[in-house]
């Protein structure tokens, strides 16, 4: 489907050129920081104007704030939408976190979120109910197959998933964003063997993008592994984590039967198989002296380390190998990331006796990018993303070293479906953010640009408890 014919001029045609008559993402590394920020600001204005006329939800939110289609620098804080809310608003609007019960309303909500028109004559193709969220999301992709749309979600561990769409353009840009960062900060090459402790089939945004992007680096398909044997459908994640159940009898069955069964199955079937499969591939890589990227969540990686320790052994890999972590700690676990890191260093060695690098990846479903940890431990925000921190009143914080809620604008990598201008729920210490006038404090790794200081990322409670006033 030719999006241009629907929306008029393709968004990318409007964006300022970066270097040599083009606007490729990697061009941003060639720009000075000042030039980069100027180009990005102009791009933000154009992307805002483009989406404002086309995206109903975006326009409605901004109109309520008194913002029109043409903006200046002082309006930038006002065009940010909260990640915690924007693509979860279907829950408030539908009155349920189970959109599979009201597909028509859900599709209407979804259509509002997009800057392209979803033909409403196809709405009748949807059933009146779907048995699962996965069935509904698959139906969206099928019915709009010619649009090349992909539905992605957040991890869903709260039971209330963020649901968003990407088109091919957005997917390509995200994959490119991830692979450029993998290459630059994690120094990944085509000769790596990539082991993802993840399911191959998942809608979780970060997982999909991490996995797709290593293909772009040139790693062959038979050297990319997904070691969780079962798919991670949204309802399965929701029931297993046990924080949100369906109402009524269905919910009773989920709580009393399915949750315990799924957790048993995970502990006794999936986790051991994952562990075995991962260790087998690692053993194979070790014996073939192959460089490895091992990527997973903290707890999954820790299980590997604990198993190796129990077996009184370690894995020895060539230099260039590394462990990648992502997703934060989504559940209570008796060990801290720092302790897990120590256990991994004990059980994974490099053949040159150096400690294996362990690099974290910070990202979110709403972002078409991820900030990867460099060898000095700082998280580098891609240079095509304009990042700032906000104070408690949602105003930009001035200065080259600021601590506040991270907000970002991604005009080049954001795609055509919605403007990628968001404020997160994470408090960070940001160096050389978009608004800074001086650009000292370069990262010791030598990379210029914005970065988040290591160990400064904190999830902020959305509502502070205040004395005797209850949160029921």
């Amino acid at each position: 489907m030719n999006v241009e014919t629907i929306t008029g001029t393709h968004l990318s045609a409007l964006l300022p050129e970066t270097v040599s008559g083009g606007c490729r993402l990697e061009d941003f590394w060639e720009l000075s920081i000042e030039d980069r920020n100027n180009v990005l600001e102009q791009a933000i204005f154009k992307v805002h104007a483009w989406h404002y006329t086309r995206n109903s939800a975006y326009r409605h939110t901004l109109e309520a704030r008194g913002v029109g289609g043409t903006i200046t620098s002082s309006d930038l804080p006002l065009i940010l939408r909260p990640t915690a809310q924007t693509f979860k608003s279907y829950i408030d609007i539908l009155g349920t976190p189970f959109p599979q019960d009201c597909p028509a309303d859900f599709i209407n909500w979804l259509a509002d979120q997009l800057s392209i028109r979803l033909p409403d004559e196809r709405f009748a193709s949807f059933r009146s109910r779907y048995a699962s969220l996965e069935d509904l999301l698959s139906a969206v992709e099928d019915i709009y197959e010619d649009y090349g749309l992909e539905v992605i979600t957040s991890s869903g561990t709260s039971g209330r998933s963020t649901i968003m769409l990407r088109d091919q353009d957005g997917i390509d840009k995200t994959v490119e964003s991830f692979y450029l960062s993998f290459q630059r900060y994690l120094e990944m090459q085509a000769e790596h063997r990539a082991i993802f402790i993840m399911p191959r089939i998942t809608r979780i945004a970060m997982v999909r993008m991490a996995a797709f992007s290593v293909g772009r680096i040139g790693i062959e398909k038979n050297r990319i592994h997904f070691t969780i044997p079962f798919p991670a459908y949204p309802d399965q994640v929701r029931i297993r984590t046990g924080r949100t159940y369906r109402p009524g009898t269905k919910g009773l069955i989920e709580r009393r039967l399915l949750n315990p069964f799924m957790n048993w199955a995970y502990e006794n079937l999936a986790a051991p198989r994952t562990l075995r499969s991962t260790v087998e591939i690692l053993d194979q890589a070790e014996s073939n002296k192959e460089k490895v990227l091992l990527f997973g969540g903290w707890i999954q990686l820790h299980n590997i380390a604990l198993q190796l320790r129990k077996d009184k052994r370690s894995i020895s890999l060539p230099p260039g190998s590394l462990i990648g972590t992502g997703g934060g700690m989504k559940e209570l676990y008796p060990f801290t990331p720092s302790q897990i890191r120590g256990d991994l260093i004990d059980t994974f060695k490099l053949t040159n006796d150096q400690a294996i690098p362990i690099r974290d990846v910070y990202g979110m479903a709403e972002g078409n990018w991820a900030a990867m940890q460099c060898r000095k431990g700082n998280y580098h925000i891609p240079p095509w993303v304009y990042a700032v921190t906000l104070d408690d009143d949602n105003k930009f914080q001035e200065g080259a070293d600021t601590t506040g809620l991270l907000a970002f604008y991604d005009p080049y990598g954001g795609g055509q479906l919605f403007p990628s201008f968001f404020k997160t729920a994470d408090r960070v210490r940001l160096i050389n953010g978009g608004i800074s006038k001086q650009f000292s404090n370069l990262c010791p790794c030598g990379d210029a640009g914005s970065y988040i200081l290591q160990e400064s990322i904190q999830r902020v409670d959305l509502m502070d408890e205040a004395g005797c006033a209850a949160q029921v």
Binding site: A57, H60, T61, A64, R65, G66, R81, P82, A84, Q85, S89, D92, I93, G95, D112, P247, L390, D392, D393, N394, L405, L462, M463, E465, A466, G467, C468, A469, A470, Q471, V472
Partner: protein
């Protein structure tokens, strides 16, 4: 760095004996309600002494000696009223050092606006201390289990709700003799209190309640209150003012700070106590309860009585009787809807809605014909909140949650069941919400209502409030209800009595008229506990009181009182 304020208080003669030049102090600095470095611009620093184990024991002993110098009973209370009146005058006088100290520190430390703090300091008289003697002069009869009972010498009524399944049986049958409501009269010798710091004055409230037990005719107890780091300045200032006038009134009182996690110290202090009053988080209360239970297991004397004041929510209900178009308050000639909306606005905005007493949702009985609708009321409320933003402005608490809530509910306008009547840049949010609620949605809305976020909920009948809404909330979290009801020749209509009984049975423990939500009276129920409960045992359950004999007159009287208190507070005329 500014000289630290005392975040503690000891009677002077005790301070001389306990504190020395070698005493170590802990300091904490706040600016605009947030912890900061002591040299940060605008930082206000409070300090309190670190006492050793022996010093704590000596302090308790000295407090017991000090209390013997206090007057007793009505004599004590009359002198306290008089002295507090003098202290209030000092707080009001800009030339007085007490005013200067308070206004120069409390707003900056807490983050509440200066007008809010000044209004509170000017309104100490809203706490009606002269009701306390009556609170100790009668006992509720057993019939208070079944129907509202008059309170001898006090306006209002009291109802008792038994706890537990057997209690529900007791509650239903009229005339059932539950036995004497109170027995085992024992005035405490030492009261230990824990005061939350989200709003100023909790430590003072606990102190005064503890002292009120002298109305039983005994020497006032020694009182040791743990101050909150979040607001440690106000209570010491009041006590220092009282000491200057009448030191014998405060000779057995100490306000200090110690760590909850210092279990050994806490055990030492609790073992000495007869009564513990904790206004704190549910988690702290649970931990204290565990410690108290352990002590009571092996205690040879009477067990420690533990009064818990944990996390609570409060609401407002407006009946159709006050929303008829054309109704006028005769004295002021203001449309009654203006009176109502000003008072309900005050119930929500005091302490920026961060207190348990702050009304979160305004339920309005909506009748289409000849009455203001919920939307009309919300628009009036919005006007009043705009006006109050000037006279009682919001403090420094973050605006982000307010703006995020604005975005969230503005998006819901597309459903046709939600309307936001305030603007993005307003320091408050008003939402009219007619969506169907289940327990999850309702809880979510209740939780969103802090920081001047007010929901207006239309109901067909006021009885929906207890029957459909309160039943969705944990009874232990319910607290105050502020009400607007119409005139009745009997003062209290049967309709009002049925409604308030239904609310009480759901867990509401205090009913006041609109405008008085933030000003509880000591003589009445505080989370189900009467002053008499400080000195008595009784069956498990809770009391509910309402503090008036005529809700309409009380409402109008409150309106006039606020106009007189709030100099220059202009009323919105339409």
């Amino acid at each position: 760095m500014q000289t630290p304020m005392d975040g503690f208080w000891l009677p002077s003669n005790i301070g001389e004996k306990i504190l020395s030049t070698n005493t170590q102090y802990v300091t904490t600095s706040f600016c605009s309600g947030k912890a900061c470095a002591p040299d940060a611009p605008g930082a206000i620093t409070a300090r309190w002494p670190v006492l050793q184990a022996g010093e704590w024991r000596r302090l308790v002993s000295l407090l017991q000696e000090g209390r013997q110098r206090s007057p007793v009973g009505k004599d004590y209370w009359a002198r306290l009223e008089s002295a507090l009146g003098e202290v209030e005058k000092r707080f009001k006088d800009p030339a007085d050092p007490l005013h200067y100290k308070a206004m120069g520190s409390i707003p900056g430390y807490t983050g509440f606006s200066k007008p809010m703090i000044q209004f509170t300091l000017n309104s100490l008289n809203l706490m009606t201390l002269d009701q306390i003697p009556s609170a100790y002069s009668w006992y509720p009869e057993h019939t208070a289990s079944n129907a509202w009972q008059s309170m001898q010498g006090l306006p209002g009524r009291v109802l008792f709700t038994h706890a537990g399944p057997l209690g529900r049986f007791f509650n239903q049958f009229a005339g059932f003799r539950a036995g004497r409501k109170f027995d085992n009269l024992k005035a405490p010798d030492l009261v230990t209190g824990y005061g939350a710091g989200n709003v100023p004055g909790t430590a003072l409230l606990i102190t005064m309640l503890a002292q009120s037990t002298t109305m039983m005719g005994h020497t006032p107890p020694a009182v040791l209150v743990r101050n909150s780091r979040r607001e440690p300045i106000f209570t010491p200032l009041v006590l220092s003012g009282l000491e200057r006038i009448a030191p014998e009134l405060v000779s057995g009182i100490a306000v200090l700070v110690w760590d909850y996690t210092n279990y050994d110290l806490q055990k030492t202090l609790l073992e000495e106590s007869d009564l513990v009053i904790a206004a704190a988080s549910d988690e702290t209360i649970t931990n204290l309860g565990t410690q108290i239970s352990e002590i009571n297991r092996t205690r040879s004397r009477s067990p420690i009585r533990f009064h818990k004041h944990g996390h609570k929510v409060s609401f407002s209900v407006i009946s159709r009787a006050v929303t008829q178009r054309g109704q006028i308050d005769e004295a002021s000639q203001q449309p009654l809807i203006n009176v109502v909306s000003l008072l309900t606005a005050l119930d929500s905005i005091f302490w920026d809605q961060y207190g348990c007493l702050s009304s979160r949702i305004h339920f309005i009985e909506e009748v289409k014909e000849a009455h203001y609708t919920a939307l009309d009321y919300a628009l009036k409320l919005t006007e009043q909140l705009h006006m109050l933003s000037v006279y009682l402005p919001r403090g420094d608490s973050p605006r982000r949650p307010l703006k995020d809530s604005f975005d969230r509910y503005k998006l819901l306008e597309s459903s046709g069941r939600v309307k936001v009547t305030s603007g993005y840049e307003d320091d408050f949010l008003v939402v009219v919400d007619s969506r169907p609620y289940d327990a999850l949605n309702f809880n979510s809305v209740v939780n969103a209502c802090m920081g001047r976020v007010i929901f207006v909920r239309p109901v067909r009948d006021v009885m929906e409030f207890p029957d459909e809404y309160l039943r969705m909330l944990p009874p232990a979290n319910l607290q105050s209800l502020s009400v607007a009801f119409g005139k009745d020749p009997n003062g209290l209509s049967d309709h009002f009595l049925s409604f308030s009984k239904a609310c009480a049975r759901r867990g509401v423990t205090a009913i006041r008229t609109i405008g008085r939500g933030a000003f509880p009276q000591l003589a009445y129920s505080w989370d189900g506990l009467l002053p008499l409960d400080l000195v008595n045992d009784r069956p498990r359950g809770y009391f509910t009181t309402f503090e008036f004999d005529n809700p309409y007159d009380e409402m109008i009287g409150t309106y006039r009182l606020f106009l007189s208190q709030a100099d220059g507070l202009a009323v919105n005329e339409s």
